[in-house]
Symmetry: C2
Subunit: 286 residues, 2 copies
Amino acid sequence: MEDRAQVFNKELENYLQILNIPSKLKKSMLYSVKAGGKRVRPILVIASYEVFQKNIKKTISTASALELIHTYSLIHDDLPAMDDDDYRRGKLTNHKVFDEATAILAGDALLTYAFEIIAKDNNLTDIEKVYIIQKLSEASGPKGMVAGQILDIEAETKSVSLDELITIHSKKTGALINFSVHIGAYLGGASEEQLNYLDEFSSNLGLLFQVQDDILDIIGDEEKLGKPIGSDEEKEKSTYPSLLGLKGAKQYRDDYAEKAQKALEKAGIQGSYLNHIIDYIAHRDH
Amino acid sequence: MEDRAQVFNKELENYLQILNIPSKLKKSMLYSVKAGGKRVRPILVIASYEVFQKNIKKTISTASALELIHTYSLIHDDLPAMDDDDYRRGKLTNHKVFDEATAILAGDALLTYAFEIIAKDNNLTDIEKVYIIQKLSEASGPKGMVAGQILDIEAETKSVSLDELITIHSKKTGALINFSVHIGAYLGGASEEQLNYLDEFSSNLGLLFQVQDDILDIIGDEEKLGKPIGSDEEKEKSTYPSLLGLKGAKQYRDDYAEKAQKALEKAGIQGSYLNHIIDYIAHRDH
């Protein structure tokens, strides 16, 4: 996973390096993009494509655009008016290094630039570009990720049921994870039937990712995570463990992992990197 | 101008009304979109198209997307971390009615939804969609409007030359105005040569718009403007009048108006609504 992330990082950074824009804006955009992370979404795009095709150059613009959108969402999420976080992955957040105005604008710029990258990629046909932009704007906009953010903020001040929690996650983080898998497989030439099973796979993978996040906030290693643990409990946040207990949460994790594997099987996919990613996410320690 | 804005407003609002999203997010998006404004950009898209074609249904998604992007930029611009404005057009700003987090997210949602609207419009071909999205993302992203915002903030703490002022305006407001005219004419079927002259027209129109804005901040009617005058001088902001005096600024205004008319002439366009808009903007009182 780390090797794949490193190869991809060069492509991603290059999209920003070539920009001829005000230096403060560029530095701020680059800071958060280079701050790292697991690159789960781009790796999912590429891995889903590789189930069907070899030459991955068709996937790079979409994988990069997706990571830019993920990065913008983190920058805005960390703002004082939102989660008010000073650190992310052990590094100062964007608005702490620069200032709030710059952080807001860097986020806006990353989001907008994501669509430019796709619209200008010569490796894609116009039909593909339009399909990608339709799906990406849906997944990241008011019906998808932004809806999840609003619901998540509202959930902070009330207790939510497990169903509501799943709805929040399916929008806040699930929408982009679904997009990753769907679009990689689409570009690779997956059949309609395979795309449906892959949507089932990615829905379970997204929830798996989230439940493990909640579990790590209780039993994780602060150094590996790059952030303090116990923050969910401190904020009295509804999580899988708070609703189901730690044992119950682990049971859900194992169920999601199994359902994800089954969905891949139904799509006729075995022994692929996607199968491996399920285990990676279920057992990740950061 | 007001009649045209009213007809367009219904189309614009409908794009938001059909969204099935969390109610707070929808209310916040609708609040700022309905807060009004002159709808200069969408009217320019439609008027530029009408120079060449009659049935304007091809322009509605782009005109709407553009106004959503303009609206998002105002919401973010008004935030405490940016211009910290409590009122716009005589109404409370988004973050004063809702809260900062919601205002940030409403802006993000409007920006993202703009691309979805274009990508899903059945009146456009895929070639047109890709071209529109390329141009719109350039005009509103890190090379265009967002660059202008950063430069504008930086200019607050130092004195700038007239050339620097023009660069800021050409990005902060000019990029979207250029896009409006260019894309309307493109969809209408303008020739390459006409598009070049229309770019010259819109560059002058954008600066005309801005110099009149600066002039109105000195000699405008507070009631008609819906905001107090004299704020530029109070903030010691570099403007056309501060650099050239009021008389000099008016001279620039008249020059821009004349250059804009000449550019239309060179494109072979006379007696159109675009010709009328030059006068409207040069003599507007709000």
